[in-house]
């Protein structure tokens, strides 16, 4: 029970991050039908820029409180991510909009390698210790009665960083849902994703809507990047790959193209992964341990695509790809 409750909390934290990144994949897929392979790298850029900004700001104002530093990190990371994503869309995807389907995908992989390499040039190839600006001592929520069989303290805890991650993700997701449903831009986005030609006839400039979609997705990815780095206290040029892949899985799980699906898929995948990692050892009699955590995302991806390619909330898409 103690493991279960703790893993649910960890899963929610992980899931909120996946959900934020998955929104970027799903929105771009919604309007363009393209898997933005370089989206994971935008997450990495966010973390790296925040690292530099926080380190710099700490040097200038050593007395600044932790949350201010964190906010500075986010505020620096988000515009850079938006700019990066805008540039990628403009130069690597837009010219290929009418090309065969594989062309933009291969171009996206290329962009992803270029971004990783540039990050390696700028920040080096070592793991960077992400400054812990927020208190990391766990807050103990519940203590279970001691169990003679367990040799550890049976508690359920959460760190302030984790609380922040869940809260910020929730706020951003609500804001995004509100924007897509209520604002003029959101209406234009929905129209473009439904039928680009007709949206054009209604006076919607498809190019700017697509650019806006990329930029909004990148902003969310930037925030997610800072949160990933703060949660694990490391930043690395390769750190965007796995979260990107898993967030894509989350988007597929929820039904790609559907923003509520991305949120649901993200949270579910996070919980599945955490529970899986927590119980895999017990289930397989110690043969497979928690270091197989990453396999769950891929297993979920393959299962969803074979059993229910439309995802939980989406329409059927496997043939369109």
């Amino acid at each position: 029970m103690d493991i279960f409750a703790q893993q649910i909390i960890n899963g929610l934290v992980l899931g909120s991050i996946y959900a934020l990144v998955a929104l970027g994949y799903t929105m771009v897929y919604g309007v363009l039908g393209l898997i933005n392979f370089a989206h994971g790298e935008v997450v990495m850029v966010g973390a790296m820029v925040a690292f530099s900004a926080i380190t710099f700001f700490m040097g200038v104002f050593p007395e600044a409180p932790g949350w201010v530093l964190f906010l500075v990190g986010v505020l620096c990371a988000v515009p850079v991510c938006m700019l990066v994503s805008f540039t990628i869309e403009r130069f690597a995807y837009r010219p290929l909009r009418n090309a065969p389907r594989l062309a933009p995908l291969i171009s996206a992989i290329g962009v992803s390698i270029i971004l990783q390499t540039l990050a390696m040039i700028i920040w080096g190839r070592n793991y960077l210790i992400f400054p812990s600006t927020l208190p990391t001592d766990p807050i103990i929520l519940h203590t279970f009665a001691p169990d003679p069989l367990a040799d550890y303290e049976r508690t359920v805890s959460i760190t302030p960083v984790q609380i922040l991650i869940v809260a910020v993700s929730a706020v951003l997701m609500f804001a995004l849902a509100f924007m897509v449903n209520k604002s003029r831009l959101g209406k234009a986005m929905r129209a473009t994703s439904e039928n680009p030609q007709f949206a054009g006839l209604m006076g919607i400039n498809a190019n700017s809507i697509i650019a806006a979609t990329f930029v909004i997705g990148a902003a969310l990815a930037g925030v997610a990047g800072v949160m990933v780095a703060a949660n694990y206290s490391v930043a690395h040029f390769y750190m965007g790959f796995l979260p990107g892949l898993k967030a894509f899985t989350a988007a597929v799980l929820g039904g790609i193209g559907n923003i509520y699906g991305a949120m649901l898929g993200g949270l579910l995948l996070g919980i599945v992964e955490s529970l899986g990692a927590g119980y895999l050892g017990q289930l397989t009699g110690g043969f497979l341990g928690s270091h197989y955590q990453d396999i769950f995302a891929f297993a979920v991806l393959i299962l969803v695509l074979t059993l229910r390619p439309s995802g939980l909330l989406g329409e059927r898409v496997s043939d369109r790809a």
Binding site: L102, L105, G110, V111, S112, I114, L245, F287, I302, A321
Partner: protein, 367 residues
């Protein structure tokens, strides 16, 4: 006046190419043994690119986890030609009291078969997927294989985890061990050169198989599936079996290349089989010209050879210009791969040397 007729010209051309290929390691060896090594690695990449070309180029199935089959081949060879298994499992040690020393006549087909089995294993559940979905799933598959190789050292030590498998025996054919310079008909042939000839032979076999396949019923079925799967199905092509066959054949070539890599290096570890490797091989296929065998070979040679030359050139140039090495050759290498993919897609999506129209297509009267 013509000196030779067409047939004779062909034979002379063939002989010239054969002599050039046979002499190549000796010429490269004059510049230094590292160049022969580069040649060997380039040949391995040609095998890999040709294997991937079957899946991506012929059948149009984008596979981003191709390196998994390379890894499977390498580990099959590594496990069966090193003391690792007999050291760790008493039952196996009891079965082979003299240690595992399987001949390459067993190991190469076995690596190909095991890799083909994994190809079918991957192909099975992904048959219904197309395009980018397939790409992501295959990418995941490649990562899963790597994760298992990395972690299957406890509780049963099968792959020796991140340390990898050491002391893999070199190839030995008919009593000729490829581990030192051997005296062959009065000529001292270094082991590197022997590997070159072995790799060359395997590459030529693979090229031959690919060319025959492309013109066969199977190859035409693949092209049909690539161009329009629904139409291919309507024409009575068993798309399921054909796709599985593409995966299996492509994987088996990867397996052969992996086994050779293993024997050549004498050491394998999961690190050699990352996603980047899959992407590099894909780059070769894309840059050369998907589906066109000479193009793919060109792409593989260019992308395998160029960065190595760069490595030889970049470091001295930087030292000369700036007095220090500012940017690692490795970094420039991956930058080039990334740029190649983007620029190739933007400006030359069909590759450097794409397939021309076939004779049948050219004969058709334009409508």
């Amino acid at each position: 006046m013509k000196m030779f007729n067409t047939r004779q010209q062909q034979i002379i051309g063939f002989l010239l190419v054969a002599i050039a290929l046979a002499a190549l390691p000796w010429v490269a060896g004059m510049l230094g043994n590292s160049w022969v090594r580069i040649l060997n690695i380039a040949l391995l990449y040609v095998m890999l690119a040709l294997g991937l070309n079957i899946v991506v180029g012929f059948a149009g199935l984008l596979d981003l986890g191709y390196v998994a089959f390379y890894a499977v081949g390498a580990y099959v060879y590594g496990l069966l030609a090193s003391p690792h298994l007999t050291d760790n499992f008493e039952a196996i040690a009891a079965l082979f009291p003299g240690g595992l020393h399987l001949s390459i006549w067993v190991l190469i087909p076995l690596s190909a078969m095991v890799a083909a089995f994994f190809g079918v294993l991957l192909g099975g559940p992904t048959l219904r997927l197309r395009g980018d979905y397939l790409a992501i799933v295959t990418l995941g598959f490649g990562e899963i294989i790597r994760l298992f190789l990395n972690n299957l050292n406890a509780p049963l030590n099968i792959t020796n985890g991140p340390q990898g498998i050491n002391m893999i025996e070199p190839v030995s054919i008919a009593g000729l061990r490829f581990s030192r310079t051997v005296d062959l008909f009065g000529l001292d042939v270094p082991a590197l050169h022997l590997y070159y000839y072995l790799f060359l032979a395997l590459t030529l076999i693979i090229i031959g198989v690919c060319m025959r396949l492309q013109q066969s019923r199977i190859g035409r079925a693949w092209t049909a599936i690539r161009d329009d799967e629904t139409a291919a199905k309507a024409m009575g092509i068993n798309t399921r079996n054909m796709k599985l066959l593409a995966f299996a054949l492509g994987a088996s070539f990867g397996g052969v290349a992996g086994a050779m890599f293993s024997a050549f290096q004498g050491f394998v570890s999961p690190e050699s089989f990352g996603l980047m490797e899959s992407i590099i091989v894909l780059c070769m296929v894309v840059l050369g010209g998907m589906g066109h065998i000479p193009g793919v070979i060109l792409g593989a040679l260019l992308l395998a050879g160029f960065p190595e030359m760069l490595r030889q050139v970049v470091t001295p140039v930087q030292e000369f210009l700036f007095g220090a090495v500012l940017v690692d050759a490795e970094i420039i290498r991956s930058l080039i791969y990334g740029l190649t993919m983007v620029l190739a897609m933007l400006y030359r999506p069909q590759g450097l040397w794409p397939q021309g129209k076939s004779k049948a297509a050219r004969k058709q009267v334009p409508t």
